[in-house]
Amino acid sequence: MKNIPNRNIFKTPEGYFENLPNLVLDKNELRKTRKMSFVQLTAAAAAVVIGVFFFVTKNDITIDQSIEANLEQEIDLYINSGYWQAEDILTFSENPDLILDEIIEEEWGVLEDNQSEIETGEWW
């Protein structure tokens, strides 16, 4: 072992030690700015989730409303043009009886009002 020199055989790239302090300080600054508290991270994540939730639900309602409005316009067009008759529309419905009941109730409701006037004799 005495015959083996103990000199340093490990060399560095040129200018390495001149730049190293800057590199270390910059890296330290970078780590400090990236460091967020767990609470801040959680709050940010929650805000993002809530924001996305509202965005999605709002857009869904808007989309549904616009589709519904377009459908109603189309249906009116088909009816007014005579392309669809009343019987055609009833067959499209899943529950045509319900539609008829609603129509009857609406019509007879008017008729009952009129009937009361007849009974009181006011019409003649």
């Binding site: 340093n8 055989i9 490990f10 190293l20 890296k27």
Partner: protein, 182 residues
């Protein structure tokens, strides 16, 4: 005991207005020695560069905990050696490569890199050192190359002087056998 210059340095760092200047001075004062001990362990300059930077950053973050029981240099050296040993341990824990691979890579670097300037016997010594356990190699490096006293090495490694002497002499025997075998 802390030297006066180290005390002044600590004052600079503890004062928020001069903190950055203190950090810069800390790096400038100790970078070559810190890098040196790390490089001897890790062999690759790129690895040593990473670990050196991390050592100083760790020192910055933990200077508030430095109680002055040892010199600032010893404290820094301790961080550097721990970081180096942890780094080597992580390299060897890669499940897809056998343990010899990283040692072989370091040995190959000694032969091929332009950042190694040793003659034949110096390269052979380094390769023989790579066959020692990491902690034994560390002790050898600090004693043989850095010329640290056993007391200093004891403070750095938190190992008794007796154990260190035994480790060093055992390392010398192994290296001599290895070099004579080659």
């Amino acid at each position: 005991m802390i030297s006066i210059s180290e005390l002044e340095l600590l004052e600079l760092i503890r004062n928020p207005r001069s903190r950055e200047r203190g950090f810069r001075l800390l790096v400038e004062m100790y970078q070559k020695r810190v890098y040196g001990i790390i490089r001897k362990m890790l062999i690759f300059h790129e690895d040593a560069d990473d670990v050196t930077q991390n050592t100083f950053i760790k020192a910055f973050r933990n200077l508030e905990n430095f109680q002055g029981n040892s010199s600032l240099f010893t404290w820094l050296y301790r961080i550097a050696t721990n970081e180096s040993l942890n780094f080597l341990e992580k390299k060897k824990r890669r499940f897809f490569f056998p343990i010899e691979d990283h040692v072989e890579a370091m040995s190959g670097y000694l032969d091929q890199s332009g950042l190694i300037t040793g003659d034949e016997i110096e390269i052979r010594l380094q390769k023989a050192l790579l066959k020692l356990p990491d902690k034994q190699r560390l002790v050898f490096n600090m004693r043989y190359f850095d010329d640290l006293s056993y007391e200093q090495i004891s403070q750095i490694t938190q190992t008794s002087v007796g154990a260190l002497k035994a480790s060093y002499h055992h390392a010398v025997k192994k290296i001599e056998n290895e070099l004579h075998t080659d």
